[in-house]
Symmetry: C2
């Protein structure tokens, strides 16, 4: 057991999965949840993701050794600061937000002494939302980016938070916030926009004649538009840069196809295949 | 049993799966294969996808009631015409090519009397290739586009070929060749180029920090570059049009993001989500 009590703030798909994984793996003695919706807490307790919970932030975090903020990305910084005012000295705070630099900037200078925030991002999710879609194995074999000491934190605290995400089944990758956001713009945010654009130009009449490829490419387009709009806004400049790199790459393809350059198309497709093959299935 | 003998020409992933499905479902008394590579025939016979086979086209098609051409798309028309010279009168020929209009144009006027070609496209596949990746259920619940009488064929022949693809587990969608190619440009060919472009701008260092979304979006980028270059070339103008529609749609996203238009982003993402939700999981 790493902590006597953890408190999860925001019990959606990610928060619910943190609870299920923490309980399944014996990571915490007690798992407490805080959510603005009492029905969500009820559902999560019934599904075994939480031992108990409520809507009162101060009460929920009072006994926690670790607070895990799993709200939509645009609320993370505010919730971290609010929670920090109510925790015991020595409490650690981490989060699961999909972007990091803006959160780090917004939290900077606003934490009381002896409360440390170690930002994190478990790269796991689903196009579904809500604790009812949570899974104890959501983080299994996934990467969790842990942001290195943005506040000059004691590195032992970083290790402790990293061990927590590791105990949920993920492997830890240490990054700084800017590096994280630049990378995720390419590996998550731009691909999401691309998937949504493919879906967005598809007439519903045509869906009857789609195969597995279309299903795969567009799957994440079913994600929650509010959550994703907030992610894009929080990582605007890196996402714009990734979109421009993508568009330039696709323009190369268009030029080769328009010119009837078969050998060029094979070469271009092979470059993409090599990257995808390196990832495995 | 629909046919005493079918002959599959080109025993790769698709041809091998046609054989496995035909045998598993009792669609044909005998399944014969023709491939330029004797080792491929050996593998397919060993895996139970074929009863027998060889490299000689004339011998392979001699006793067939139905010939199923499963070669790469740029070889389909030539193989259909070559096979037609060696079949018995009354033999049906179909294919599994991913584009249709060019094949129809290339075959037109080149078939002997009493041999009919009913073009088809089972919208099923995989990023893998070779008969060893074939599956008896590859076509299960997938669409097969069957091209309506491009040669003024007796419609009973169209029905008979449709029943064959149906007997392999797919559901038939009747289309004309141009409608097929315009639609597949949006639902298959453009998405393939997009997936390959996402993979192509991703540094291999970044793969450690990818999740399920990236895996899904880029999966088809692992497909065979030669096969796909041929598909793009065979459907050039419709693919270029689909790429332009996609790029215009993605440009809308870029404009909204650059302007910080959160409500606009939510609306744009919701339009894509509605299409994807209509498709189901």
């Amino acid at each position: 057991m790493l902590f006597d009590q953890i408190t999860i703030i925001g019990v959606g798909l990610i928060g619910g999965s943190v609870g299920l994984a923490a309980k399944a793996r014996g990571v915490a003695g007690r798992v407490i949840g805080v959510d603005r919706d009492p029905a969500t807490i009820e559902t999560a307790v019934r599904l075994g993701a939480l031992d108990a919970g409520g809507t009162d932030l101060a009460a929920g975090v009072a006994g926690a050794g670790l607070v895990v903020v799993c709200t939509p990305v645009d609320h993370v910084a505010g919730v971290v600061v609010a929670a920090a005012a109510h925790v015991q000295p020595g409490t650690l705070i981490t989060d699961a937000g999909s972007t990091k630099a803006r959160i780090v900037a917004e939290v900077r200078g606003k934490l009381p002494p002896r409360v440390e925030f170690v930002p994190a991002h478990p790269v796991a999710g689903s196009e579904k939302s809500g604790p009812e879609h949570g899974r104890a194995d959501l983080f299994l074999n996934r990467a969790t980016a842990v942001v290195m000491s943005p506040f000059g934190a004691d590195w032992e605290r970083t290790v402790r938070v990293g061990r927590f995400w590791e105990a949920l089944g993920s492997h830890v990758v240490l990054m700084n916030a800017e590096e994280h956001d630049r990378t995720l713009a390419f590996t998550s945010h731009m691909p999401h926009a691309v998937a949504a654009a493919v879906a967005g130009v598809t007439h519903s009449d045509w869906l009857r004649i789609t195969g597995g490829g279309f299903r795969d490419v567009t799957r994440i387009a079913a994600g929650d538009p509010q959550l994703w709009a907030a992610i894009f806004e929080a990582n605007r400049s890196a996402t714009l840069a990734a979109l421009d790199a993508f568009s330039a790459r696709l323009a190369e393809f268009r030029t080769l196809l328009a010119a009837g350059d078969g050998a060029g198309l094979v070469r271009w497709l092979t470059e993409g295949k090599q990257v995808r093959d390196a990832l495995g299935t």
